[in-house]
């Protein structure tokens, strides 16, 4: 009889070691560390607000049009309505897959983004208006929803839409019996639990919490939430820094501050 295949400390189901003996993940991160984030505001010319957001190898662009006159028949007389569209480029993943704007996953993501921002935008400021949020995924290496939320937040700030707070999302994966913040496509799979959390960092409230698959018990749920909140706070620091840098740049260009 052949001996069972040798495994490292935490050989995964696919025979892949997700966490090395040194406690480092496949891309060299610690389990609490989020991927490298880069972002910029005002990347597109025609949109009222836009942002480019990169989290590791996941890259998204978000655009905001509005507040503007409603294009469809539905509007609210005392507040604005928010519409969202989420689409993925065909070259976004290694395997070319024909995705289109209206498929189930895209629609689900769009609804999440829409609901989140309906909660933080001061809708009553813009009666009978429509605010459109469009998210385009250019590259997908896991965590596209997280990237979409963060990019949309930056684009709304760029558009000057009144919001009560930022919305920052972060996800947590579970590999080799360990929680990992911000899993990439290798670490997240349909067979493993993944928690995606969105918080408003100033008030510390949880706006959205999605759990795929299941966690063992309440205690592990609690700790997953802690990982996600900590990850979101890391991301928030980057976003806030970037927004301040952009705003100072604007003030500087008008000669209102000396940098």
């Amino acid at each position: 009889m052949a001996p069972p295949p040798k495994r490292g400390r935490g050989g995964g189901a696919r025979g892949l070691e997700y966490i090395s003996l040194d406690g480092l993940r496949v891309d060299g991160r610690l389990h609490t560390e989020v991927r490298k984030i880069r972002c910029s505001l005002g990347t597109l010319s025609r949109a009222d607000g836009s942002a480019y957001y990169e989290q590791g190898n996941t890259r998204v662009l978000a655009a905001v049009y509005g507040p503007r006159e409603p294009t469809g028949r539905d509007f609210e007389h005392d507040k604005a309505i928010v519409k969202c569209e989420f689409s993925t480029a065909m070259f976004a993943s290694t395997a070319r897959r024909r995705t289109w704007k209206g498929d189930r996953k895209s629609t689900a993501a769009a609804i999440v983004v829409q609901r989140l921002f309906e909660g933080v935008i001061l809708l009553a400021e813009y009666p009978r208006c429509q605010i459109d949020i469009y998210v385009q995924v250019l590259q997908n290496d896991g965590g596209t929803l997280v990237a979409a939320v963060n990019a949309a937040c930056l684009a709304l700030i760029n558009a000057g839409v009144a919001m009560s707070d930022y919305v920052v999302a972060c996800s947590v994966g579970y590999v080799d019996n360990t929680f990992v913040a911000d899993p990439n496509s290798l670490e997240s799979g349909s067979d493993r639990p993944e928690l995606t959390l969105a918080i408003t960092p100033h008030s510390g409230k949880i706006c959205s919490c999605q759990l795929v698959s299941k966690l063992a018990d309440d205690a592990s749920f609690e700790s997953a939430m802690q990982y996600a909140t900590a990850g979101a706070k890391q991301i928030f620091q980057v976003l806030e820094y970037e927004v301040k840098k952009y705003s100072l740049g604007l003030l500087d260009s008008r000669g209102m501050v000396a940098l």
Binding site: S40, T43, L44, S45, R46, A47, S50, Y52, N57, R59, L61, A62, A63, Y65, T71, E85, S87, A89, M90, F91, A92, S93, T94, R96, K101, G102, D132, Y134, Q136, L138, Q139
Partner: protein
């Protein structure tokens, strides 16, 4: 498309009569073009083209081994999909951009089925009648500010120039067996004859005889009475021309437009090829490439 008032159109047309455009260009001047290659790690070849910081196109190429079509057994296949992202305009939401996407895809297909690209398509053949490369060229319109098709054709050509295909070894079959192929994932080659690939130049006529302009902004496009789009290949050949618009173009103007389009096309090709040569050389030699645009 943008809607302009009559007064705005009048302003553009009167300016055109005197050879003046609102951004200070001469009639056949093009806006500054930003070209960046190999921007997507998930594609075998990719390029991003921006014209005047307004029009923004991202193109990715993914190759696949397939069977050639029965009509052209010794040629590979180049297939185009264009997607107009809602980022470019709220009009593209849902199925809104589908018509424009289909039109642009069809124009690209026409450009690449012309005889000037026959050698390029032949170089994609692996075993005649049995196996060939199919290049899935996916283009994404991120921002649109006029001359969409010109930018698109430029981005597609640049992506084709830098695309790399894995080396394929043909193993001759024994006796009655068919030949088999083995894809060598270690060694890559660039596409031969990708230099032949054409670009498109669009000239738009502004009502009066002999008045036409290159690289229109979206405002200029929406008040143009007619436009012609011509494919230009470095082989010095024009490959196909289409006209669009409600107005007509008289014969004298048309022939001078075609001449100018070919001339302009060759100038653009020359400039891009000079850039691409240094770009490819730099990448080959492993010199650090500084990304530009939002990828930087």
């Amino acid at each position: 498309m943008q809607f302009l008032s009559d007064a705005e159109c009048e302003y553009i047309r009167n300016g055109a009569k005197d050879g003046i455009r609102s951004d200070g260009r001469a009639m056949l001047d093009i806006r500054p073009v930003t070209l960046e290659t190999t921007v997507l790690p998930t594609a075998s070849g990719s390029a991003r083209v921006r014209i005047g910081k307004v029009t923004d196109i991202l193109v990715g190429i993914k190759p696949e081994v397939a069977e050639p079509s029965q009509d052209f057994p010794d040629e590979g296949i180049i297939s185009f999909t264009v997607e107009c992202s809602s980022l470019a305009s709220p009009d593209f939401v849902g199925r809104g951009g589908a018509d424009l996407s289909a039109e642009l895809g069809q124009l690209l297909t026409r450009l690449y089925t012309s005889p000037v690209t026959r050698e390029l398509r032949r170089s994609l053949s692996i075993i005649k009648g049995k196996k060939c490369w199919i290049l899935h060229i996916d283009a994404l319109v991120l921002d649109s500010g006029g001359n969409l098709f010109g930018a698109l054709s430029l981005a597609v050509r640049a992506a084709l120039r830098v695309v790399i295909l894995p080396r394929v070894i043909v193993i001759p079959g024994e006796a009655d067996d068919d030949d088999e192929i083995e894809v060598d994932e270690e060694e890559f080659k660039m596409l031969e004859r990708s230099r032949d690939a054409p670009i498109a130049v669009t000239l738009a006529s502004q009502g009066d005889r002999g008045i036409y302009m290159a690289d229109c902004t979206s405002e200029e496009e929406s008040c143009a009475t007619a436009s012609i789009t011509m494919g230009v290949s470095p082989l010095g050949k024009s490959c196909g021309a289409v006209s669009a618009g409600t107005g007509g173009i008289d014969l004298d103007t048309l022939s001078s437009m075609l001449k100018d389009a070919a001339q302009l096309g060759l100038e653009i090709l020359d400039a891009t090829d000079r850039f691409l040569k240094t770009d490819i050389d730099n990448r080959m030699s492993g010199a650090p490439i500084v990304p530009i645009g939002f990828f930087s």
